[in-house]
């Protein structure tokens, strides 16, 4: 049976894993290669490394980090942050990533999706969408708006429509972050996740709002998510992907166990 994926997300800045709230007060949380290997050993189904500062000068540092992280990692490995062109993506793949996550660059130039897919396959292209419900819309969920700049600026199109376009242009997966839920630890936006998941045939990875194991069970059942991103949950009680998955299995969610 196909299982629901728990994806461990590492935010990196200048070659180090960092933890912080809203990208402020960053705390050093270790070496990305070590942390990624630990997450894989502890049962994560996939690793996402997000370059949260993504400066031009930091590009070489990021590639070195990707290379070191990929060396001993034998689960799928996705890298996001600052990928603006097919050439940027190519360098990240050559450094050992299996997938790239693209966000604002795909909005600015949607042909980037097919350009990367043509060389590396659709499975290698994850389109990340930062979403906010639109309280003014007749249906705030189906009317949810795509945002950029950390959720501060709407780009004037709905999440469902952009997810569909991304799929048509050859995206392999959608990484959907609810900016409303992000940081609240009050649960994923299951209605929004379900609306997107039912609109596309490619997998949808839910992100933003996880605080408890029950939130994950909820986004897989009600939210129809194919995978969920786990980040701060590991700072608040749930120690590993394995223990998260053991609790999910008890709740009837199909997960990869033993792992």
């Amino acid at each position: 049976m196909l299982t629901k994926r728990i994806i461990a997300c590492l935010d990196v800045h200048a070659g180090r894993v960092v933890k912080g709230v809203q990208f402020v007060d960053l705390i050093d949380a270790g070496d990305p290669a070590t942390q990624a290997a630990r997450h894989a050993r502890e049962g994560a189904d996939e690793i996402v490394l997000l370059d949260i500062t993504a400066t031009h000068e930091g590009r070489q540092t990021l590639l070195d980090t990707v290379r070191r992280t990929a060396r001993e990692l034998f689960v799928p490995f996705c890298v996001g942050g600052g990928i603006k062109s097919a050439r940027d993506a190519e360098q990240v793949f050559e450094a050992g990533a299996d997938k790239v996550s693209i966000n604002s660059a795909a909005l600015a130039d949607p042909t980037l999706i097919s350009a990367i897919g043509a060389s590396f396959g659709a499975q290698a292209v994850v389109v990340a969408i930062d979403a906010r419900r639109d309280p003014a819309a007749a249906d705030p969920v189906r009317g949810a708006q795509v945002h950029v700049h950390g959720g501060r600026r709407p780009v004037g199109r709905t999440v469902v429509e952009w997810a569909r376009e991304a799929e048509q242009r050859g995206a392999g997966e959608i990484l959907l972050t609810s900016m409303d839920a992000d940081g609240t630890r009050a649960g994923f936006d299951c209605e929004l996740t379900a609306a997107v998941s039912e609109s596309v045939s490619i997998p949808v990875i839910a992100s933003g709002g996880a605080g408890t194991v029950a939130h994950f069970a909820d986004v897989f059942a009600r939210g129809k998510a194919d995978a969920a991103l786990a980040a701060s949950i590991f700072h608040f009680g749930v120690s590993t992907s394995r223990s998260l998955k053991e609790e999910l299995a008890q709740a009837g969610v199909p997960v990869r166990l033993p792992c």
Binding site: L2, V75, G121, Q123, S201
Partner: protein, 206 residues
């Protein structure tokens, strides 16, 4: 041991090469140098993306060299589209023929309420005393990402269920294929690649 990895410009070889080297193999890559296939000790054909990309194997003459290597008994492993190429062809690119080592056609998953592509970790049911999958316990998981698949036949070495049962692995003699990505399948994947690297003809001296 040395492994010749075929590059037909379908996706990224980095993960496969890295994993083979991690397991102690020396790797050589060819995108058209037939002598590297003629002298190959083991061959891996990776591949992601579209079946049409295998056209390059014909255009470069690699298809013929691989066919001869297989006839000589060289262990061969196809991964993902590399496995599908072992069949007669795929409905993904009907004009493009495969190697035809297995006579069936690969087809797309049937329309259903489930999503296509099939992406993620799914379990294996190993059959036929597979040598490639020796030591893989019932229900061990591997990582898939694909929309087309081979049918379950007598050559199927492992079955996976998604929408319908399909061939997760195929094996006859020295010719093996896996629909999943062993290089991305954790310890289970490493075990399978180790089995491939240790594969010897039956009766051969160790």
């Amino acid at each position: 041991m040395r492994v010749t990895v075929i590059d037909y410009k379908a996706g990224n070889l980095t993960s496969v090469l890295k994993t083979l080297r991690h397991l102690g193999a020396e790797t050589v890559v060819t995108d058209g140098d037939l002598s590297l296939v003629e002298s190959a000790e083991r061959i891996v054909l990776p591949g992601v993306g579209h079946f049409a990309a295998t056209e390059r194997l014909d255009a470069t003459g690699l298809t013929g060299s691989i066919r001869e290597a297989i006839a000589r008994g060289v262990p061969f492993l196809g991964i993902c589209v590399g496995m599908q190429w072992l069949y007669a062809g795929s409905t993904e690119a009907p004009q493009q023929t495969g190697l035809g080592h297995f006579p069936e056609l690969c087809t797309r998953f049937a329309e259903s309420t489930e999503k296509v592509p099939h992406v993620g970790w799914n379990s294996l049911e190993v059959r036929n005393n597979s040598r490639l999958l020796a030591g893989v316990e019932p229900g061990e998981f591997v990582y898939f990402t694909h929309s087309y698949k081979g049918p379950v036949t007598n050559d199927t070495a492992a079955v996976t269920e998604y929408i319908e049962p399909f061939a997760a692995a195929v094996e006859r003699g020295n010719v093996m294929g896996v629909q999943f990505h062993p290089e991305k399948s954790g310890e289970t994947g490493l075990k399978i690649l180790r089995n491939f690297l240790a594969w010897q003809p039956r009766g051969a001296a160790c």
